[in-house]
Symmetry: C2
Subunit: 336 residues, 2 copies
Amino acid sequence: MVPTSTRQVVLASRPVGIPQAEHFELRNSRLPSLQDGQILVRNSYLSADPAMRGWVNESANYSEPVPVGAVMRALAVGEVIDSRNPNYRRGELVTGLFGWQDVALVEPAAIWRKVTEADLPPSLSLGVLGLPGFTAWAGLHRILRPRTGGTLVVSTAAGAVGSTVGQLAARLGCRTVGIAGGPAKAAACVEEFGFDVGLDYRSTRFEDDLRAATPDGVDAYFDNTSGPITDAVTRRLAPRAAVLVCGTASIQSWDPVPTGPRVERALLTKRARMEGFLALDHFDAFEEAISELASLVRTGALAYREHTLHGLESAPGSIAMLYSGENTGKLVIQVE
Amino acid sequence: MVPTSTRQVVLASRPVGIPQAEHFELRNSRLPSLQDGQILVRNSYLSADPAMRGWVNESANYSEPVPVGAVMRALAVGEVIDSRNPNYRRGELVTGLFGWQDVALVEPAAIWRKVTEADLPPSLSLGVLGLPGFTAWAGLHRILRPRTGGTLVVSTAAGAVGSTVGQLAARLGCRTVGIAGGPAKAAACVEEFGFDVGLDYRSTRFEDDLRAATPDGVDAYFDNTSGPITDAVTRRLAPRAAVLVCGTASIQSWDPVPTGPRVERALLTKRARMEGFLALDHFDAFEEAISELASLVRTGALAYREHTLHGLESAPGSIAMLYSGENTGKLVIQVE
């Protein structure tokens, strides 16, 4: 039977910096009846991604901030349970921007793709076969383009994006160095994700370890953190190095803009390039990337880790959890 | 008659930061006899360029530091007065890395080019038809590649590089904003070099003026200064902006690395690119660039300004003069 209401997580107040559980609240809403073109999706998994901090903050960003009182913008995967759109049929699995809610009435523009990998877990569409996997693929192939034999460093290397970056870079013939928080995650970089070296940035020896791990300098850096980790990597840049700025996880707030060592001289003397990157700018390559990633997952050539929270009630605290580093894999919320 | 000795400016001690007059001393040296392949050049003009700071500082750079006790590395232009090289004949005008000295015994590798523009002043080979002009040309065409209608900003805009950047960018159809030190140089940007706007960074209204001058943001920034000027421009970056790091004139010393506002979030949200640039990496285009620039000078389409010091004795203080901004054009030293 088609549901007539949905449970939603809405933005209750606008956070400065990292959104906490108290910035959200749960509510029930009646579902209006479907209009022509619309689709009704029952979400099975909701996503928690670092980018969601930017989606709720006031300051200018690449997308309009989620209004206070609105359903939290989020990626999700679920099943079409009703459709007035000839391109989508009941029973099909779809992923897209369906929000933190159990049932979503969606316009077709919100749908990123049909999930056609029936042999693989649907939650992967939020991880290695979704935005994080695509971010790694596009950042590597479209921006960093590391050379065979070069040294690639990635921060938050045990995370959903970083672990994929490392594995794809190794396939390109790079020496890979993963930076993560704590000895367990540093070890996972090597043991689970095949990095040549895993470094714990919390170690007092971190900067020495990084120097030892990059004897010829750093040719490519996939930066998910900014902050002191990035400062240490910047000091190791090799000539013609490329730095991709994908996220700033280590920065609590950008208001006011925090200070750090100036990068101009490092960029100048190394003729290095530093570039901001938003995966969605490369959406034209989405199907190609997901298809390639799915093949690698099927043959066991691409490892991933998930961390599953249960119930819509766990969504509000999930972004803060990501930024604290408590999660041990791609963070997803299973809708019960 | 072929001279048997040369007067030289040698590096007397290694400076930290900006080299001052006291870091150099004058000496006379005997000239050895020419070996096969070598050329003897009588310099008519010596150059003082911002890059020379990097050539004498200890810290890692793109070239080996000038050894203490050696002739100061410098560009110069002069006449071949003796030659044991079939490619160079007495009387020809050449430019290259001949050093701060009146007569230079040079290997052919030190020669950048024969000066073939007999109708133009030879000193231009150190300015608009030399490294500064080429730096502007290559930075603009090879790195920034600004779009027609875009807004280009350049710092040290009344200087040898900046003034050429502005004029070439205007020819590409850019709106051009020049930043310089003091109201006279800001006015010169507009009146002599054709910038749409000239801004004085020393004004207390500088940041407001910059905002007003860049209503649609900054699409391309040719950065010769780093420091607070660059921080202000970074806050104005437009989506997909490109920043070329060519020099860091406003930074007194990079040891230790000074701090400034972090750039990661600006680069990320604008998907902007920041890239270190060394003109010599693009030397393959040198003749093409100089030939194009010479044509523009001949038709009066490219304005330039020179500031001439007289005598080898004025060389030691010339780099400090550049960094103080006291010069009012491309700084050259006429050998008397």
